[in-house]
Point group: C2
Chain length 149, copies 2
């Protein structure tokens, strides 16, 4: 039996390639505090990343490209995400239903806000698509009329 390699690590170039970006971008995100610094590192040593780091980077890039968020806005999203992760850990330490409800409600608000953004974008894209389809239909009609010639 082979191990499932639960501790796959990446260097910055591979991480960037797998996430569809560049090493420079990853370093920049670290520089401005959007991504955490890659573990313990003596000055000048190579950065190493985990699969969790890869997923986090992918998610950040996805929100940036699809929703057009600035890095400042993404920083707030990531911070909120981390705060919620901390709350999830706290979750198991409390029995108080009021506290638990507060945690869930906060998460619901956060997810709801993102959903609204995504849906607005999708609606705008749907409008654009509709216009393009109409244009294409008119062009196809013209094209069909020319077939007979």
């Amino acid at each position: 039996m082979t191990a499932v390699s639960p501790e796959r690590t990446f260097r910055i170039g591979e991480l960037a390639r797998l996430a569809g970006t560049t090493a420079r971008t990853v370093r920049y995100y670290e520089e401005i505090g959007l991504l955490a610094e890659a573990g313990e590192r003596e000055a000048g040593a190579h950065r190493t990343y985990s699969e969790a780091d890869l997923e986090r980077l992918r998610q950040v890039l996805r929100l940036k490209e699809l929703l057009g968020l600035s890095l400042e806005e993404l920083k707030r999203v990531v911070e909120a995400e981390e705060a919620r992760a901390a709350l999830r850990r706290e979750w198991h330490e409390t029995e108080d239903p009021a506290t638990r409800r507060r945690i869930v409600d906060e998460a619901l608000g956060h997810v709801g806000g993102q959903l609204e953004l995504v849906r607005r974008r999708r609606a705008e894209l749907a409008d654009l698509e509709e216009e393009l389809v109409a244009r294409r239909a008119r062009l196809r009609d013209a094209r069909r009329d020319l077939e007979g010639a």
Copy 2:
């Protein structure tokens, strides 16, 4: 009877506001040749824009925001659009069906390319929306379990 004001014009500030951007952006687009210079203008005089200019600016901003195109890419789109407008004028001067077919086919290729971009984006947004909806469902379940407490 009042006239339908077929020649409504705008100054740069109003144009920008109606298009959802800034005067600086409009000047920059003119500077890099993305938007045509605003008519005849002695140096230092105010720019004036037509409703057609407003529509063009809106369309450019829409493609930029929804598809994430760079200004260089948008320039190519606008140029292709202008070439097609020129061809439409040429259209009425030719009787040759082969020429007309070439004009229509070029337009079809252009619209088809844009449609593909729009659809890919929409699909990506649909995936993101699905994930968010699933997260919200799990949170709502947790929330419901807490109601009983």
